[in-house]
Subunit: 402 residues, 4 copies
């Protein structure tokens, strides 16, 4: 175990989640924080051979200029999430890792994301073949330079618009043809990145609501390449609570009449999600959850709106009206005020640890035991938070035994 060296490659590394992950690794390395927020630090994982997050080497892709320390300092806006001293102490690592952040992928990039792209060092008209090869070369070079035994690739970039339906119909031959004929429009950006990573044999996690590897052809390719997959759209706030509460209503046979959820957030994610197309992906994965958990679909309303002053402190108000015995109407409301990136970062570390272990245990394709992390879990329709956690605990036992 001691001799194993592993890396974490973040697509969208310079975003708030990416910078929080990097800061967290640097802080853990220095003993400046504990493992609060890491699911893999729970007792269920006591006997499992997982990599120390403090020893992860960090690299990534991004379409923006910037550096990890600057992003980390901006998380939370006027109410900074992380202390200035913490960032200063961790600065040497953040600076070193920032140098390993390579120009990201612009293939078929959506307008909202393109707006953010401001690096000077990449071509906007890169052919598909060249693009894929460049991404793969970055990954291989990262592994080689740092003498890494394994690298896990995690998409933490902003959410892109939903893919056209035809994308689900593509087979691997179609994708190969698109590459050769330089048809970038065949796949959404996130899928090109997922393809590139999987194709070189690196485990891939889609932390966002973008398409990523969630296309039958790519899943098939992952199985062939013996690459484990996980995703998509991490549960960090309102939906997390929803999947804890909806089973309570269902199991008490209380009839949910309406479930309204209003989310406000103000970071770059909020900006991208204020584009109706990009938001659509997010809302779709939020909405399907209730019908699955309740067995019927009450009237629902979910909004995500950008309010600059709240920045990364995503605030949600949920109003649930339900009917009990004898037709009596009642109400439950909750508000959630969480720092999105600080909630996401430890889950990124969890997923990295678990996917590296999954690869060592020869898992390939969707690792559905990781459903507890996602709004739209690959490979399973289970949304009940508690049952999802049960499956994760089973997975931990399996990893421990073997």
């Amino acid at each position: 175990m001691a001799s194993r060296r592993v890396g974490i490659w973040l697509i969208g590394a310079l975003g708030n989640v990416g910078a929080s992950v990097a800061l967290g690794i640097a802080a853990l390395k220095r003993g400046l924080c504990d493992r609060t927020g890491l699911v893999t630090a729970l007792s269920e994982f006591a006997g499992v051979d997982l990599d120390e997050p403090a020893e992860f080497v960090v690299g990534g892709h991004d379409i923006r200029n910037g550096d990890l320390a600057t992003t980390a300092a901006s998380v939370g806006g006027i109410r900074p999430a992380y202390a200035g001293e913490l960032i200063n102490t961790c600065r040497p690592d953040l600076e070193a890792w920032s140098k390993d952040i390579r120009p990201g992928c612009l293939l078929n990039c959506d307008p909202a994301a393109l707006n953010l792209a401001n690096r000077a060092d990449f071509s906007r008209n890169e052919p598909v073949v060249a693009g894929i090869e460049r991404l793969q070369s970055d990954l291989r070079s990262f592994a080689r330079r740092h003498q890494l035994d394994q690298v896990v690739v995690i998409n933490v970039a902003s959410t892109e618009p939903p893919a056209a339906e035809r994308v689900a119909q593509l087979d691997m031959a179609d994708i190969q043809r698109a590459i050769k004929s330089n048809d970038a429009s065949a796949l959404p950006t996130s899928a090109w990145c997922a393809y590139a990573a999987i194709d070189v044999g690196f485990p891939y996690v889609n932390f966002t609501a973008s398409t990523g590897a969630d296309i039958p052809a790519i899943v098939e390719h992952a199985k062939e390449k013996r690459v484990p997959l996980a995703g998509s759209d991490a549960k960090t706030g309102e939906t997390l609570v929803k999947t804890a509460l909806a089973p309570m209503f269902r199991n008490r046979n209380l009839k949910v009449l309406s479930w309204v959820g209003h989310n406000i957030l103000g970071n770059r994610d909020g900006k991208v999600l204020s584009q109706p197309d990009n938001r659509a992906s997010k809302l779709r994965s939020k909405d399907q959850v209730l019908a699955s958990l309740l067995g019927y679909l009450p009237q629902t309303l979910t909004t995500i709106e950008q309010i600059e002053s709240v920045d990364d402190w995503k605030t949600a108000w949920d109003h649930v009206q339900f009917q009990g015995f004898l037709g009596v109407p009642m109400t439950m409301q909750f508000t959630w005020q969480g720092c999105d990136s600080a909630l996401a970062a430890p889950l990124v570390l969890d997923l990295a640890r678990l996917m590296l272990a999954a690869q060592r245990h020869s898992r390939s394709g969707p690792v559905d035991e990781l459903a507890v992390f996602f709004k739209n879990p690959m490979g399973t329709a289970e949304h009940d938070l508690s049952r999802q956690f049960g499956r994760l605990a089973d997975f931990a036992r399996m990893l421990a035994v073997i």
Copy 2:
């Protein structure tokens, strides 16, 4: 199945819960309401031979004068929970059943309860032997007159103060001695009632935070008499939500720093709970839950206060502060506005159905599979709502198979 006749005997029948149970049975009988709120109406119980709540015969004890229809009409105060027309239509049953409400037990009655006692037809100085015999005679007579195959006894009276610690040390011989020597102070009122019911072989459920059957000697007696037990303190609101949410924090490894819960309610229950002694029982069963679910005890504060205008619409505000990765503090708050009696009534029906089935399946002593219904479940320390429900589903499968 068709020929089986069963009864439900409510201790404190004229309270809001008792009247809601009676109204519910009458409404189900007439097809005026559906089974929303009944856990035993869920698909998990599809193949189980349970009694129809519409066919329950209702009787009970109470220390107050009154009738079921009048109480039912008062539930909810200025915002009535049940429509006047519904009560009017059900009035014939409610009146008939009101006649089967016999004078309750005043043995060792606490001052707050004693204050409510206003029936003319019982002696305040009844000897213990006579009191027990009277209660048992009421139960037997109810069964005989209505030709009932089984009767389940459920305590839905107001919460009494916590019992002295010595009560837990008593053995059956001590209790017998107390009866003979007319020492009513040996047991709290609720325990005298529980003893009386168990001793005649009737399943007993303690729906409240009072002592009831929760004394080793009485549990032992129940096993000898082959009587199943369940309790105590039904989860109908804030604690229900707490036991759904606390596992979420635990399983995400988020560190709960403080959990504050303020409850306001205005009905008779609120009045009794405004007595510090009576409230103590309630708070004790509310507080133990968190430590069990989180694995540590954060700072907690729970209040229950009587605010007349909210009447039965118990309103709770919970404020949870927790710490995530990198020490970032966050907050979740919820409010719960539920009609306590309308939440409780279907659970009383569930417990009646399940306990009658348990008795037919020869269960005796605490039926710990029913933990999902209680804040302080007998026979188990499991508080995780989802796991508790899993155990109930297992119980349903067991009942279905045999």
Copy 3:
């Protein structure tokens, strides 16, 4: 005073507000409710000669079939706002008044409203001249039949879409031309109704966010006809609170960074407001308020969404982020759960009483002292609730003196 007879004519009488007003008058007449909710019942109005609401005669226009009792019984949906017994006792009046509800105006009716129009007894292609004359004839006939000294006309119909900007440019000659040339599109429906009422000399109140009399040419006409006007868009909930709270932030020099307000409601009003065009009128009058009160416009977001299960119990969640000394960000949130029609009805009665008095005091054109009732008060830009109330108190003093 005893010999004065007055009438209240409701445009959209069969809506929830209209039915609540009628029920309220009938209940006051029978001593079944007190004057809670009536501003004119406050001590400030002690010496003012106002008409007894219990003595109002009720009539109105509506484009729908129906009757007042049926609507009143439906207010609040599954959680009825008014007791069935109350409605039954008041039924004779409600039935009598229902007969005085005449076919409403369809001139230039917007699609959302048109959808609701289901009366058999009016022509959908009535020429403008005929339409105006019919409305006026209804008003005159109502006054004559009931021997009324005065009649006040109040628009409580659903909100229509904002008027085109050109409408504000019209002069009276343009309007006369449009009438003659049968150009119904010249004015929105609500303005045609306002014109008809004003033209026969009846005081007119626009309780809604529709255009009503809020057109320079019509205001001018009211002055010529010596008719007092009031409007528009009554403050009954979220905006009421906003205008009480925003001055607090301003007067403490706390910098509001963002003010988010999400409103859900489920009645017919909600249905009409779910049409983006109709909603626009409402949001416009909600948004201007903050800038006026704070002296700057923070980021704002206001939504109104139809959630059927809440029906008339409009629920709003407001989230206010503000910055204090030394840049410290803080938050205030509120929820408002009010029965819209029960909040509106007494204000309709207040406005009727005050406008009848205003007419007797020879006021004509906008009565700006009534700003406290409105989101978008005619004749003044004052939005501070407390200052508005001060002006109303001054008005009461003036009425008392003369």
Copy 4:
């Protein structure tokens, strides 16, 4: 104006409010913050000759060891209110001023406060005469050393228990006798301090719920000494909102049935307030407000509880149930999450500026125009926030004119 030099003397200078005031002055001096939160920075005060807060010299008394920078850094606990960099930049001033913080007064000190007293440099058994003389000597020496034209004394220490009723009966001769006979128990600590300050002719503000100068004999003494007074118990959060909202309910003639307010806070103030005696003072000034504003007293419940993790971020939940027309019950709730010290500090500066001006305008005794700042304003029973602000604006006009 340029040549005037003024000082602010804080009783309890090392508490969170004191340190925030000092940090604010230092930050204003360096242009590191603006005047957000200062009422005296509003346009109403444009023409008034007030002292620049940036030019205040800071001194004070405290019974604890410590320094301003350390306290400032601790405000907010795990969610620091003030940035580490800001404190570092301001450190030279904070250190200089810390040296002017002299040992506080222990005369008749209550147990909760005494617990905090840990300075080595004062005697616990100082005779009353010596104590008063020492306090006065500190004040005079501060003025002399810094060549100050005026010094205002402001009590920002923790709240002490309510004074015995006999205290209100004392006359000046009684107080003089108590001083001579060394009877420290005659007055609460805060009153001894107030007496000392007033007796040397310095304006005195009681920012807390303690007794301070609120004793007829001391008020009389202030008038004789020509010293202006203000107090008591600054409105910074829940009560501020209450006094903005209660007039709304009153002026809409909505009947408040119950008003429940639960406050949690975790700083030293919270610790002291967790003592029932000390809390009693606070709750008394919170409760009287509603009856005054509504004209009747609905059922009220107010709690203040110490929850360590929230520290200075006082969080309040208020639940208001009210009845509208036709008896319909409705609900408004709000939560307030404010940093108590950051809300208080600018008001301390406002009061200092206004009291120095008042002294220059020869005001003596209670300056009732400052009611807007207090829960329990001296010299007036006006609690309506808006009307209180109107009086302050009048005061500003008066100051500007003269």
